[in-house]
Amino acid sequence: MIRELSMVEALREALAEEMRRDPAVIVMGEDVGVLGGVYKVTDGLLKEFGPERVRDTPISEEGFVGAAIGAAATGLRPVVEIMYSDFLANCMSQIVNFAAKMHYSSGGQVRVPLVIRTMVGHGRGHGGDHSQVPIPWFMNVPGLRLVVPATPRDAKGLLKTAIRGDSPVLFFEPHLLYRTKGPVPEEDYALPFGRADIKRRGDDVTVVAISAMVPRAVEVHERLRDEGISVEVVDPMTLNPLDIDTIVESVKRTNRLVTVEYSPKTGGIGAEIAALVVEKAFDYLDAPIVRVAAPDVPVPVSPPLEKMTVPSVEAIMEAVKGILA
């Protein structure tokens, strides 16, 4: 039987294996060394690889992300941890104006093989500036790869591809799934970017779910199966590149599309996917596309209010039933 790991363990394994494989890979960020990361993703790396390759940084996101860009441009492969994805705002200029653009603006001379790992959607009362799912911010920035894993297996295989690639990657790790266990192969493997995974086959509705919404969509698949509704769950796994072909193929079979994310709805991931599907498969749609997303509010601390900002299994089920009605 295949072993089971949590996403944290799978990510840690990917980091350790890549660090063993390639001495150019280094890890840096706040509390990643002695503490092993506040979510323990980098736990044990300091012991195995030492303080040169596993660097605790001062609290200075713009500074150490900038430093990681410089290191990446001149021979290293830094993997940076940004403790909360909200803090991407603190290093936005380095990411958007430099990491994303140096290759293009230098006419292809400069390469920035940088991975920024970051936790999204804390979900435990940490409030508006510590709970965001800011993935869509970066969909409008050419030059960044965007990775949104939802299972331990996917997280490990995609992180390996991220580290081995030559382009800057933002790697979004859902806090809601950090401790969830799942099967992870023992052998070395890497998962390609730009290839969606159909998590469940179905005929009646296509549900494109992102990040922590994937297991909820899978649960919807299971629960509605008993009611005779067949839900296909598509997990794009990367948003740049986005495997729109797999989504469109699915919609051509089911003729209905629901998107599920836990970022705010306006200008979100679902908006982009819906637009693409309308452009490419309008004639196949039997019903208006439905977007399930967080409401357009900062995430509140109040437990019942916070819960309302993350689409529930029930909300997704309702959307699926609604589109079939």
């Binding site: 390759r53 713009e62 500074g63 430093a67 021979g75 430099f98 603006s105 030059g143």
Partner: protein
């Protein structure tokens, strides 16, 4: 180590190249041949040349929007630089970066960061890469005094100091951040005093004296190369022209002030120094003729070069 006369002649050549190059770019800008703005370096030549004369070919440089000079001083192709500034396909960056991002990577220019201060932490990371690859390279990071007030300056210098990285930070204090004078942006007289906040040496030097800059940088480069960490060198200088080629630069500065600084012409000062050290007038004159020819050739090359093919739009994104 004292510079030989030949090394000094080479420095003079580079300073003059920068001067004539920038004058020609200004001319092309006013003729509408430059698609972007162009931030010119005239008056500051002693800094780029004084520092880069200590660097090896495989050492690194990071510069700014005012970075033509550092590309040239590091050995970048004048033709390709001119073509880049004109946005041409034959430019360093195929015309995609333009004046502000002109980058001669194969000559060690890692990038020209057109957002003020951004190259300061990036240079720390280049230093980290050097340290971890265990080479004896160094990186020189150029920025203006305006950059000393942005967070990147603090975060970058702190990291470079903390990790003892081989970086030479060169503040080209030309007294104005666009229109805002140093006295209206900080209470400090010397930016170099900020070095003490990071526990590293801070040095003030006459930025119009290429020899003085060279000597200050020599020590800083040697320290960096030998694992003794970064230095902040502040070079007091002045840009003769406005913030960019389209700015007369006189809304916020007096003509008298500009004229005072023009009398401290770093190229002229260095020429006189050369002659006093025994350089023959005819050798200096020959260099001057060669520079004129090289700059004219570079401008002709840039002007005659084509723009990028439309298919280039979508390449180099990843």
């Amino acid at each position: 180590m004292a510079l030989s006369l030949n090394e000094m002649l080479q420095m003079y050549r580079q300073m003059l190249e920068i001067r004539r190059f920038e004058e020609n770019i200004a001319d092309l800008y006013h003729k509408g041949k430059v698609p972007s703005s162009a931030h010119l370096y005239i008056g500051q030549e002693a800094v780029a040349v004084g520092v880069c004369s200590n660097l090896r070919r495989n050492d690194y440089v990071l510069t700014t929007h005012r970075g033509h000079a550092h590309n040239l001083a590091k050995g970048g192709s004048m033709r390709k630089l001119a073509a880049e500034i004109l946005g041409k396909a034959t430019g360093l960056c195929k015309g995609k970066g333009g004046s502000m991002r002109a980058t001669s990577f194969s000559d060690g220019v890692v990038y020209s960061c057109s957002i003020v201060g951004a190259n300061i932490p990036i240079s720390a990371g280049v230093g980290l890469s050097i340290k971890m690859r265990k080479t004896d390279q160094v990186v020189a990071c150029f920025f203006g005094e305006g950059a000393a007030n942005i967070g990147d300056f603090h975060e970058g210098l702190n990291l470079a100091a903390l990790w003892c990285l081989p970086v030479v930070y060169v503040c080209e204090n030309n007294l104005y951040a666009l229109s805002v004078s140093q006295t209206r942006s900080t209470l400090l007289e010397d930016i170099a005093t900020r070095a003490s906040a990071y526990g590293i040496p801070g040095v003030v030097v006459n930025g119009n004296d290429a020899l003085a800059v060279h000597e200050a940088a020599e020590k800083a480069v040697e320290n960096a190369r030998n694992g003794r960490g970064p230095t902040l060198i502040e070079c007091k200088t002045y840009r003769w022209l406005g913030h960019h080629a389209g700015d007369p630069g006189l809304d916020y500065r007096t003509k008298e002030e500009v004229e005072t600084w023009k009398r401290r012409d770093p190229v002229k000062i260095f020429r006189e120094l050369l002659l006093s050290k025994g350089a023959a007038e005819e050798n200096v004159g020959a260099i001057e003729a060669e520079v004129e020819e090289a700059v004219r050739d570079a401008m002709d090359f840039a002007l005659m070069s084509p723009y990028a093919d439309p298919k280039e739009l979508l390449t180099d994104v990843f």
